[in-house]
Symmetry: C2
Subunit: 106 residues, 2 copies
DNA sequence: ACTTTATATGAATAAATATTCATATGAATT
DNA sequence: AATTCATATGAATATTTATTCATATAAAGT
């Protein structure tokens, strides 16, 4: 790791270390969506989705595109695809039971 | 993202979303170290280092090797190198000021 | 201009996580 | 077997982060 990257990594990982935001990203990996579409898809309140999209947007992990009153969010696949792929590889190799290392399960 | 990876990703990112653990990993990227070496290098208490190494170990982001009373920790570079690299790329491309998207700076 | 629809924001509370300090374990040395 | 050195653990407190609910903004349609 490049010296001094700790700070930006912290912000980055903190941003991703949240089940609501991860679920939103999972949806957005499939296709761009508006806030309400996400709220419906995830069964969450609209304000919760908005609150959680904000830091993702600030870190450019998603982009926004305003179509009238609808705000369409798109995932930054360039950044996130390789990272999710790396985690998948890690899980496959180092978490063979598919979650042996998960909280409450060891 | 593969459906259902949210849970394991959450655990993974939560683990990394901590300045002490990131600083420890940064040290370990350089070379394997004992707990006390890490504590000294980071200017932190030994118990704090131990507490923070534990979840990294559980998720196999580091490995342990016991040499007598010393416990030498080694970073899992196979997993972490590509991830840190991806973040570096992201930062270079999307955070051109080197932290415009950092907390308290926007 | 008023109403509706879509999203964002603020502030309070709730929940999760980190940090500290005291102490326990465990290996090596005398 | 007592002491020292190295690490781990437990439990309390402190800190951070998430969630909720009420409300604000802002675009579009009537």
């Amino acid at each position: 790791m490049k010296k001094g990257l700790t700070k930006i990594c912290h912000r980055f990982f903190t941003n991703l270390a949240n089940p609501t935001r991860l679920a939103a990203l999972e949806q957005l990996m499939d296709k761009p969506m508006s806030v309400n579409e996400l709220a419906t898809a995830l069964g969450q309140e609209q304000s919760m989705i908005s609150h959680n999209l904000k830091p993702l947007l600030q870190c450019n992990l998603i982009t926004i595109q305003k179509q009238g009153k609808k705000h369409i969010y798109t995932v930054n696949q360039e950044t996130l695809s390789p990272i999710f792929e790396a985690i998948q590889n890690h899980a496959q190799k180092f978490c063979p039971t598919g979650g042996k290392c998960l909280k409450g399960e060891n």
